[in-house]
């Protein structure tokens, strides 16, 4: 029977990263993936990732996928696509369906990196065509160039719900509302803010009462819930939509580990039923590892590091590297992983109510309840300062492990320091040249360049813009506030695009100067 040093199930971020580390150390590695394209969910992630440079921050997910794949290929990793792993049997035997047959192969080590599946909620009409998972929406738009619908209601304010809402708008859908039964936004505030400023209303403490339609979705009714998650009569709101998108969390897809006989635990901190693993990702069965979402739901960046650790540990197990080398390498990866597991959204913080930042700044309640920081709250954050001339305004208000803006500024105007989760602060001693690198580098699209007083009664605001059609210089329209409300007229005075900006265009709009700290988005007037 064919024998590999390592068989990896799943060519997502964890699987590919493990393959790279194992192959780098001389191992013969095969990666099976049931999809036609490798990369797992990475190829559906078109936003820039958070993190530090080592975590591939500010690179878009699908580019990370391409990089990993190229690296794996160059190291001789065999990546087999359209390959469905049927089962994991004793003696580390894997059966895999390829084309019209089933192959039996064995691995001296095996990594289960099967990822996650989407959770669902029930409501009357939830089985109608037009009710889809957020992952389905991403697949349709980002892989197949197809709009899931014209008018969409998003249920779920976690990062998936927020990111996909933004992607829906980028693809050309109208997102009529974002609802969540939870009382507070679950995902990153910056993700929420970029959705809210486009005009999407947030309905927290709201759930779907029913979906309308006989053959497919024609509308949706949402309603406010009380403490017991019951809809309060009289609070119902109706929207005409053709699509309802569900983004209510992920569960580890751990069936294969269970079938193999790995010890399992149902751990709410890991969002479900997972194989128990040690610090190397090894399950209760020696030589069988698990990494990525299958061993606990986290970000793709964490999955990549977990994969690397498993690859390194497997290499040590089979004698490709020494124990000492393994320990040193794993320690390095672990410290990176720990870096990612910091801040307000760290795995250990799930369900905890946070009232202030590490710096002692009161958290914006408006952000948590409506998706945007209100005008009176924004001033208290260290990234928001005033100066003459053009200067950065950083509306980053929660402690998340991310720091590319600090390095992006060639003039060192932005300070985060060694604590990666610290809120970015402005160094008033340094002079901003308005180059815009910080604006384009911010994965949360939370940085603006503002000239509060151009001397003629106007102010100029430079904002990140990732939509089509791209307004041209001279375009006239409306400036929208952080809440997406039209606040004043605006004119585009500059549009900057550069390879280094990676599809984030810098739009500079001119508004009356009293709106310098209020206007945060531009909506072009419909051309007659």
């Amino acid at each position: 029977m064919k024998r590999y040093d390592m068989i990896i199930v799943g060519a997502g971020p964890a699987g590919l990263s493990a393959a790279i580390e194992a192959a780098k150390r001389g191992m013969k590695v095969v990666v099976y993936d049931e999809n036609a394209k490798p990369g797992g969910q990475l190829f559906k992630q078109i936003h820039k990732f958070f993190g530090s440079k080592e975590h591939k921050a500010k690179i878009r997910g699908f580019h990370i996928g391409e990089e990993l794949l190229a690296e794996a290929n160059s190291l001789g990793v065999e990546v087999v696509l359209n390959a469905i792993v049927i089962g994991l049997f004793p003696e580390k035997e894997v059966t895999v369906k390829i084309d019209d047959h089933v192959e039996h192969v064995k691995g001296d080590t095996i990594l289960i990196a099967t990822g996650a599946s989407e959770n669902m909620v029930t409501f009357p009409g939830w089985t109608l065509p037009g009710v889809i998972g957020a992952g389905a929406a991403q697949t349709m738009m980002n892989l197949h160039g197809t709009l899931p619908g014209k008018k969409v209601l998003m249920l779920g304010s976690g990062n998936v719900g927020l990111v996909v809402s933004f992607q829906l708008m980028q693809a050309g859908c109208e997102v009529v509302a974002l609802a969540d039964a939870a009382p507070r936004v679950g995902g990153y505030g910056v993700h929420a803010a970029k959705v809210a400023r486009c005009g999407v209303p947030f309905y927290l403490s709201h759930t779907i009462v029913k979906a309308d339609g006989d053959e497919y979705v024609t509308g949706v009714t949402i309603g406010e819930v009380d403490k017991n998650w019951q809809v309060i009569p009289g609070t119902e709101k109706h929207f005409d939509v053709d699509t309802i998108c569900l983004a209510v969390g992920l569960s580890p897809m751990s069936k294969l580990a269970d079938m193999a006989g790995c010890a399992m635990e149902d751990n709410p901190a890991k969002a479900g039923f997972v194989p128990t693993v040690d610090k190397y990702g090894e399950t209760s069965i020696p030589g069988i590892y698990a990494a990525g979402d299958v061993s606990g739901i986290e970000e793709a960046s964490s999955a990549m590091i977990e994969g690397r650790i498993a690859g390194i540990a497997a290499a040590a197990k089979l004698g490709f590297i020494s124990e000492e080398e393994c320990e040193a390498e794993v320690e390095k990866q672990e410290s990176a992983l720990n870096g990612l597991r910091q801040g307000m959204f760290a795995p250990g913080m799930r369900g905890k109510m946070i009232t202030e930042t590490e710096e002692g700044v009161e958290i914006s309640q408006n952000l948590l309840k409506k998706g945007f920081v209100s005008d009176d709250e924004i001033e208290r954050f260290p990234g928001v300062t005033h100066n003459t001339g053009v200067h950065p305004v950083i509306e980053c208000t929660q402690n998340i492990p991310c720091n590319p803006c600090q390095d992006a500024c060639p003039k060192h105007c932005i300070k985060i320091g060694s604590n990666i989760t610290a809120l970015p602060a402005i160094d008033p001693e340094q002079k901003c040249t308005g180059c815009g690198m910080c604006v384009a580098s911010c994965s949360g699209q939370a940085i603006f360049l503002v000239n509060e007083d151009c001397g003629d009664g106007t102010a100029e605001i430079t904002l990140p813009y990732e939509f089509l059609p791209l307004p041209e210089k001279g375009a006239k329209g409306t400036a929208l506030s952080r809440s997406g409300e039209a606040v004043c007229e605006a004119e585009v005075v500059n549009v900057r695009s550069a390879k280094a900006f990676d599809h984030t265009h810098l739009l500079t709009m001119k508004v009356p100067k009293e709106y310098a700290m209020k206007a945060r988005f531009f909506k072009e007037a419909v051309k007659s």
């Binding site: 065509p129 389905a136 899931p148 497919y216």
Partner: protein, 108 residues
């Protein structure tokens, strides 16, 4: 509806245009894309009617997990259209219960 140009992804690489039939009606799609995507772009929402309650179902997960989008493809029932590539001349039919619509309107 197809996305002509995407602000981040640009234009999409698509296979050549091919013809297939949906319940006997000729439709066009791109070769190699999932059948469900071609149907979606042709405005088809309902892929099947369920066995017990005869309720409509369509795309739900789009990655081959939920099996809600199954249809009869080239005579074979229960084909997951969201992950089955479209080929020239495919015969795609609405599935009723676990198979074809029975004679006389009753469903299997």
């Amino acid at each position: 509806m197809r996305i002509d140009e995407h602000p981040i992804l640009g234009t999409y690489e698509k296979g050549r245009t091919v013809s297939f039939t949906f319940d006997g009606k000729e439709l066009q799609g791109c070769e190699g894309e999932p059948i469900a995507i071609a149907l979606k772009n042709a405005g088809v929402m309902v892929h099947r009617y369920t066995k017990k309650e005869h309720k409509p179902r369509g795309i739900f997960c789009a990655i081959g997990r939920c099996t809600d989008c199954v249809m009869i493809v080239n005579g074979k029932p229960n084909v997951r259209t969201c992950i089955t590539p479209l080929e020239e001349g495919m015969e795609v039919r609405t599935q009723y219960g676990v198979g074809e619509k029975a004679e006389g309107g009753a469903q299997q």
